[in-house]
Amino acid sequence: MSMTLTARQVGDVTILDLSGKITLGEGGVTLRDEVRKLLAKGAKKIVLNLAGVSYIDSSGLGELVSSYTAVKNAGGELKLMNLTSKVRDLLVITKLLTVFDVKDDEAAAVAAFS
């Protein structure tokens, strides 16, 4: 029903594996909070792996944007990888695909950090 989120480390890159639905949350874990926790621990290179995200709505898109701006404001970089067609379609419609750095797979995402 809701989103699950697991963090793992690949070198100095933190990868967040997301699955389920990124939607309006009522008391559950939120993506932006998890990203802020990572930033507080000093993470600067963060990849959101959206391979397991079956569904996203406008609130979920807002979570992605908030996460992006939080990382950017902290002097870090946030990238997306493994977009499902549903998520990609909405990023195209809302022009957010022009905002995010999107990679097809983990190797490309990890290699893309400066």
């Binding site: 569904y55 709505d57 549903k86």
Partner: protein, 158 residues
């Protein structure tokens, strides 16, 4: 069934909406009821012949409209209801969502794709409705606002 009073406008039964026979769903202003509406919208979109991705998108924007009605229209007032109508005709699937709020000026909603708004964390719901549906109409009620979402069917029933 207290907060989910499903009834046909025509027969008073819980008949599924069929051709030119709308059904009405009345909800309390609680987010816990949104998923049921979304499921119903997706089922009806499938019945209308839309493919899986389109049906999912229709359900998603219906969800957006219901959430807007609960949060921004009725402001979660337990005394206010959200009324959702489903109608399937030969030509189109129509879904109406009405709240009992103070009203909405759709022209006052900023363009979420504009450079100055692109990084805002909210404000994409109505934009998605317009992008995904063929027609979106706003009707001012007294009190409240009704949003009408229309998707034209590609293949008419024989």
């Amino acid at each position: 069934m207290t907060d989910s009073d499903i009834k046909s406008r025509q027969s008073g039964t819980q008949a599924r909406p069929s051709k030119d026979q709308p059904s009405l769903l009345t909800l309390d202003s609680e987010l816990s009821r949104v998923e049921a509406v979304e499921t119903r919208a997706e089922q009806l979109a499938h019945e209308a012949g839309f493919d899986e991705d389109t049906s999912s998108q229709i359900a998603m924007v219906t969800r957006e409209a219901v959430i807007n009605a609960i949060l921004h229209g009725n402001k979660r007032d337990p005394n206010k209801k959200v009324r959702i109508g489903f109608a399937l005709s030969n030509d189109a699937l129509s879904i109406t969502i009405a709240d009992e709020g103070l009203g909405l000026d759709p022209d006052s909603v900023p363009d979420p794709c504009a450079p100055e708004n692109i990084l805002r964390s909210s404000g994409r719901g109505i934009f998605l409705m317009r992008a995904i549906m063929d027609e979106v109409h706003f009707h001012q009620l007294s009190p409240g606002t009704e949003i009408e979402l229309i998707k034209h069917r590609i293949h008419k029933e024989s």
